[in-house]
């Protein structure tokens, strides 16, 4: 028994260095060590935060679909506690954070931040503790769900740690407030590297850097410089720079012009929500936060909808699509594709749709329809 363990440890040691050694430091982050010897019998552990409101119902949906698709994932569920944990200074417990750090992948449902003082917002806690530096949001038109825009297929990658959201504000004198926007080379390089790597691994042809460097010359100028440098390393990908006001206008007139967009924090926030609006709203948009050391936390960005909580009316699409993103991150592409097609086909068919898409199905019916389509 101990001999077997000894050999197993040596095996992991060799293979992990093999895997991590062959790719650059950031792409190595894609492959978690657990993958090295996961088979259909050894499940991958992933953290699940069902969240509040409709969270638990849609998390249940995800679990059902994943089980039906034979995805070998063991869920490690954590809930937001009702009191502040002094170790994290927020409602998220230390154990929850440790779990994500250990498992390296997670799925998060909507969390309502309780209003009050003396604690950090839940999203801020996750972001800071897990060092989640890039927020990736693919926005594509769902065939069968008609919006005014039919040909949207783009990905927004947003820098998630600094920029205008550094939270550094102060009142200079009464009636005069300053807010500081910080751009660093390190963070900009990180997100630019990730964006180009993502474009390459997902077969995307174009990366556009969005900025306002004609006015904010030094800050956005630095961001652009970093993007320029990374672009040189990927000559096969077409790289362009677009001023943000131009970008907004082009997006609403002709979203097919864009492919991958990389931007600093504030512009990213606005543009990613704009793009979500183009395809049907936050109820249908997946998203994934990438952190250092290959951590990926997929999340549904919609709210917790307390008014329909517990009534089996919620639309699980956003969380399901986020789960698919998580699977792709884990390189379980076959199953990701399976589940993705099932979801798309169910919505395209139109027979089973939840209330927000104009239908009358319940969450459980919709989930069952997806399982049937697998």
């Amino acid at each position: 028994m101990t001999m077997a363990a000894f050999f197993a440890r040596r095996l992991i040691g060799n293979r992990s260095s093999q895997i991590l050694g062959t790719s650059s430091s950031t792409s190595g982050a894609f492959i978690s060590i657990a993958r090295a010897f996961s088979s259909s019998t050894t499940p991958i552990k992933a953290t699940l935060f069902p969240g509040d409101g409709i969270g638990p119902e849609i998390a249940e949906s995800v679990k059902q679909v994943f089980t039906a698709a034979d995805v070998a994932i063991e869920w490690d569920e954590h809930y937001v506690s009702t009191e502040v944990d002094p170790r994290t200074n927020s409602f998220l417990t230390w154990e929850s954070l440790q779990s994500v750090l250990d498992n390296k992948v997670g799925l998060k449902g909507p969390m309502a931040t309780p209003i009050g003082k003396g604690h950090r917002s839940l999203n801020l806690t996750l972001r800071k503790e897990l060092n989640l530096y890039a927020n990736v949001r693919p926005c594509y038109s769902l065939p069968g769900y008609k919006t005014r825009y039919d040909d949207v297929d783009l990905i927004t990658i947003r820098e998630n740690t600094e920029g205008e959201y550094s939270g550094l504000e102060h009142q200079v004198v009464k009636g005069v407030v300053e807010s500081i926007k910080i751009i660093t080379r390190k963070a900009s390089m990180r997100v630019a590297e990730y964006a180009f790597l993502y474009a390459k691994t997902h077969g995307r042809k174009k990366v556009s850097a969005i900025h306002k460097a004609n006015i904010m010359q030094k800050t956005d100028g630095l961001f652009l410089q970093c993007c320029d440098e990374v672009a040189k390393k990927y000559p096969e990908i077409y790289y362009e720079k677009v001023v943000i006001d131009n970008c907004c206008m082009m997006l609403v007139k002709n979203p097919a012009l864009f492919d991958v967009l990389v931007m600093p924090n504030l512009y990213g926030d606005i543009i990613s929500d704009l793009c979500a609006g183009l395809v049907g709203g936050l109820g249908l948009t997946p998203s994934c936060n990438i952190g250092e050391d290959g951590i990926a936390l997929a999340e549904a960005v919609h709210g917790s909808a307390p008014d329909i909580a517990g009534k089996n009316l919620a639309n699980p699409t956003a969380l399901l699509l986020s789960g698919v993103m998580m699977l792709r991150h884990l390189k379980l592409n076959k199953q990701a594709e399976q589940i993705h097609s099932a979801i798309i086909n169910t919505i395209a068919e139109g027979k089973y749709r939840t209330a927000d898409l104009g239908g009358t199905s319940t969450t459980t019916d919709f989930t069952k329809a997806i399982c049937d389509h697998l």
Binding site: R148, Y149, E164, Y165, G167, E169, H170, Q171, K174, G175, V176, V177, E178, S179, I180, K181, I182, I183, T184, R185, K186, K212, A213, N214, I215, M216, Q217, K218, T219, G221, L222, L224, K241, V243, I244, D245, N246, C248, M249, M250, L251, V252, K253, L266, D269, I270, I271, S272, D273, L274, A276, G277, L278, G281, L282
Partner: protein, 367 residues
Amino acid sequence: MSRRSLTLLKNLARNANGSGIQTRSVTYMPRPGDGAPRAVTLIPGDGIGPLVTNAVEQVMEAMHAPIFFEKYDVHGEMSRMPPEVMESIRKNKVCLKGGLKTPVGGGVSSLNVQLRKELDLFASLVNCFNLPGLPTRHENVDIVVIRENTEGEYAGLEHEVVPGVVESLKVITKFCSERIAKYAFEYAYLNNRKKVTAVHKANIMKLADGLFLESCREVAKKYPSITYNEIIVDNCCMQLVAKPEQFDVMVTPNLYGNLVANTAAGIAGGTGVMPGGNVGADHAVFEQGASAGNVGKDKIVLENKANPVALLLSSAMMLRHLQFPSFADRLETAVKKVIAEGKCRTKDLGGTSTTQQVVDAVIAKLD
């Protein structure tokens, strides 16, 4: 009786089928001497600027409007606005300009921004509306975006803390927020608008945008007949592409105003047709409404395919500002008729005409 009802029906049909644009008689009682020609500073600018300002000149000529232009040559690469231009604007109080190209990252501060700061043109206004006859994805759009023009993120205060770390300051003051809020509500009041929406990101930038919101709320109390609400900027952009009819007048700080104005212009037909201007306590500068593509692509300049509609509609706004309402109405009606007909449209509206063809069509439709 049947003959009478027939003519009545015919009239009804004609009005219903007509381009939807009705001319009305104007009863405007001028003061004696108001008809004397006014001087207006004209800055053609870069790129498509000279083309479209030329279009305005031609149309003004054709209308015999009581305006004469003092033209000045300014280009975006100049480091400062020439003093004689500033002198002229201060004297005339009104200016019409094409876009000035700001070199990206070139270390030259934008001349557009400089002009606004020096003349203290604190309000920038863009009117985004569906033009009858121009098909867009969104209907019932009629939004006016009023944007604070002097401070906020465009304060231009940046420095490198250590190599690789750069800071930029966003400054919000009560003074500027209050005056832009006052302008927005006054605009709504004077133009019979029912709702003012403040756009912000105060959940993250609590002090800065919080101060802006406070000022808006205070001013809102003085106009109880106007509905006031607030919306976070990312939600706002999402709502703009989903349900733009819910917005009426929007008041925003500097950067969000830029984004919201361009998004609204995009959904209503593009920056080639939206009028706008900048106004301060003493001066007004009219230009193309939304700033994206202000100088256009070189190809458009070479082929003379720039869209003059935006600047023509802005010059109509300028004529009203100068208190020549009937000329403004005639110009607007002619432009709208040309667009509604659909025969003469530039490339950005899906047609193939040149600038000159559109201008000729407008002049032909002037009554």
